[in-house]
């Protein structure tokens, strides 16, 4: 079907029957939606199917082939090395997700319901700027800050301490960097769900004699749970799937599953193995998100009572 066949029809001189108008309307609908549908089919769904097919394939030094062998999958599911890295990715992701939500929530609360709501615009603007600041730049910045000759060690030097090498090239450095990078990502969803909370409900809880902590756990947090879940999910997904942060600030002990996956698609040139690892990571990540949602629902109901 060529697009020229369904160019804008000439306008009818007057109303020429409902059915004709409906048909034109439907045609327009399909026409306007089709670029997005075609794009998603070509650049999102098809690539995933192909990547999945690769996980059953084979690779040699120079060539890749599809196939139906489960070798990559059995390697991926049984090898201790990959399991260690997978666990580290998930632990890092959960830690970063929880820490980002915990750090972002008071901020989002302060600018919606709390004492800073008059300055919400300015505070949000600051968050947006950091959100859009290049992620590579921020990782680079942390490597400079935490390094042997970085500002932090220079500051220790002034008071006669250090230099400390343990600041950089380990898992805590990865977590610190990712939390710093992802807090803005947590602030925005929590902010927009808190902004929809009716202040009258919060006040009603207070009037009914609830203390501020009880108001928070029984009213505000359950009402904002959508934003909290979105914030956790976003931060967790990005952190657990990251490989650039561990590459630059993680050292050997901070490497995650993402690093091995990237390697298979780079120098190691074993796409089938990398593909199986990628689907393993995505699958386990989906399970973690599911578990988080169940947990939140459980606590959410408890809190509402």
């Amino acid at each position: 079907m060529s697009t020229s066949a369904i160019v804008a029809p000439d306008p009818p001189a007057g109303p020429t029957g409902v059915r004709w108008e409906q048909r034109v309307a439907r045609r327009w609908y399909v026409l306007r939606l089709s670029p997005l549908v075609l794009f998603l089919a070509t650049f999102f769904i098809a690539p995933f199917v192909i990547l999945f097919l690769y996980s059953f394939g084979r690779s040699s030094i120079v060539s890749l082939s599809f196939g139906a062998n489960g070798e990559n999958w059995s390697t991926v599911l049984t090898d201790d090395f990959y399991r260690t890295l997978l666990v580290r990715s998930i632990v890092t992701g959960v830690t970063v997700g929880v820490a980002s939500v915990l750090l972002a929530f008071p901020f989002a609360y302060a600018i919606t319901i709390g004492p800073l709501r008059r300055h919400a615009e300015l505070c949000l603007f600051g968050v947006l700027i950091t959100l859009f600041s290049a992620y590579v730049v921020r990782i680079y910045a942390w490597r400079t800050l935490l390094g042997r000759n970085g500002i932090i060690n220079e500051a220790f030097d002034v008071v006669g301490l250090g230099p400390y090498d343990f600041l950089l090239f380990n898992q805590p450095a990865v977590i610190l960097t990712l939390v710093n990078v992802l807090i803005p990502m947590a602030v925005l969803p929590i902010y927009s769900s808190l902004a929809q909370v009716d202040p009258a409900l919060v006040e009603a809880a207070r009037d009914a004699g609830a203390g501020s902590i009880r108001t928070l756990t029984a009213v505000t947090i359950p009402l904002a749970s959508r934003g909290i879940n979105a914030a956790f999910a976003l931060c967790f997904l990005i952190a657990a799937g990251d490989y650039v942060t561990p590459q630059f600030v993680g050292g050997i002990d901070g490497q995650m599953l993402g690093n091995v996956i990237a390697e298979q698609f780079g120098t190691a040139f074993n796409w089938p193995l990398g593909s199986a690892l990628a689907f393993l990571l995505v699958g386990v990540m989906a399970m973690v998100i599911g578990a988080w949602l169940l947990l939140m629902r459980f606590f959410g109901f408890r809190m509402l009572r």
Binding site: A8, W28, F44, V127, S133, Y140, P184, A262, A278, V282
Partner: protein
């Protein structure tokens, strides 16, 4: 009570300081004369910026980034707006499924998006180029444009469209002279956000580039070779572009931007 308010304010200020600390250090040391990214501060210089602007690789990277970013922004704005308009006009289940699917890429690690695109391009025998970079960037930026324009349509008064139709305006005319002028700030805002995201995108770019480097890729390359003072200058220029874009977007879409997220 008042003291708790102060505690909260101090906390928020500290959090903002924590967020800005790394990028501010980068900017400050881009002007530092000794070229060491550490204290004590020796003096001010513009040498690093001069060096960056004299370096053909970096200048090309800025050009590539601009081309990729603008192409991405325009395509994302067009495709996203068309889809959002279709969904606004005819609420159907298909539309909802399409929007959810369009948002789904944000639920995958960029690494996985990058390698899946790379796999497809290899199977189809597509040569990697700036075009393939754009396809990856569209995947990430379309949800943002959709969210921005959808947010505008959520508060859209359809009565003005009906009035135009009742007065005999054909569909395209209604769109061009009534609907579009009303949603224009959100469309431009969404496009600018797409541009900002495209300028800073790195992981998908790395897997879909055919050798052309965007600015983040150049930064990454220099980082791998160790700490170089020009990285600070390149980064500062990139940050300046981002701040400018966020400022303009904010101006255009007003407070509605805060309701825009990368995902829902």
């Amino acid at each position: 009570m008042r003291r708790r308010g102060i505690g909260t304010k101090v906390y928020c200020a500290a959090l903002l300081a924590f967020l800005f600390a790394p990028t501010l250090t980068i900017v400050v040391f881009a002007f530092e004369s000794s070229g060491r990214s550490t204290l004590p501060f020796r003096g001010l210089t513009l040498d690093w910026f001069r060096e960056v602007l004299d370096d053909q690789v970096t200048v090309n990277a800025f050009r590539t980034s601009a081309v990729v970013g603008v192409t991405t922004a325009v395509l994302a704005a067009v495709i996203g707006t068309l889809a959002a308009y279709a969904i606004h006009r005819y609420r159907s289940r298909i539309g909802q499924v399409v929007v959810s699917t369009a948002t789904l890429p944000l639920a995958f690690p960029y690494l996985v998006l990058g390698i899946s695109l790379l796999s497809m391009f290899r199977v189809l025998g597509v040569t990697l180029s700036t075009t393939t970079i754009v396809s990856g960037h569209l995947l990430i930026t379309l949800p943002v444009v959709l969210a921005t324009v959808n947010a505008r349509f959520a508060t859209f008064d359809s009565a003005v469209e009906e009035a135009a139709r009742d007065l005999g305006a054909p569909p395209w005319r209604t769109f061009a002279s009534v609907t579009f002028p009303l949603i224009r700030p959100s469309v431009i805002g969404g496009g600018l956000l797409a541009l900002a995201l495209s300028l800073e995108e790195f992981i998908v770019t790395l897997f879909t580039t055919g050798g052309e480097s965007t600015v983040p890729v150049v930064i990454w390359g220099q980082m791998r070779r160790g700490v170089s003072p020009t990285v600070n200058a390149i980064s500062s220029l990139l940050l300046a572009a981002t701040v400018l874009l966020v400022l303009v977007t904010r101006k255009l879409t007003g407070a509605s931007l805060s309701g825009t997220r990368r995902s829902d």
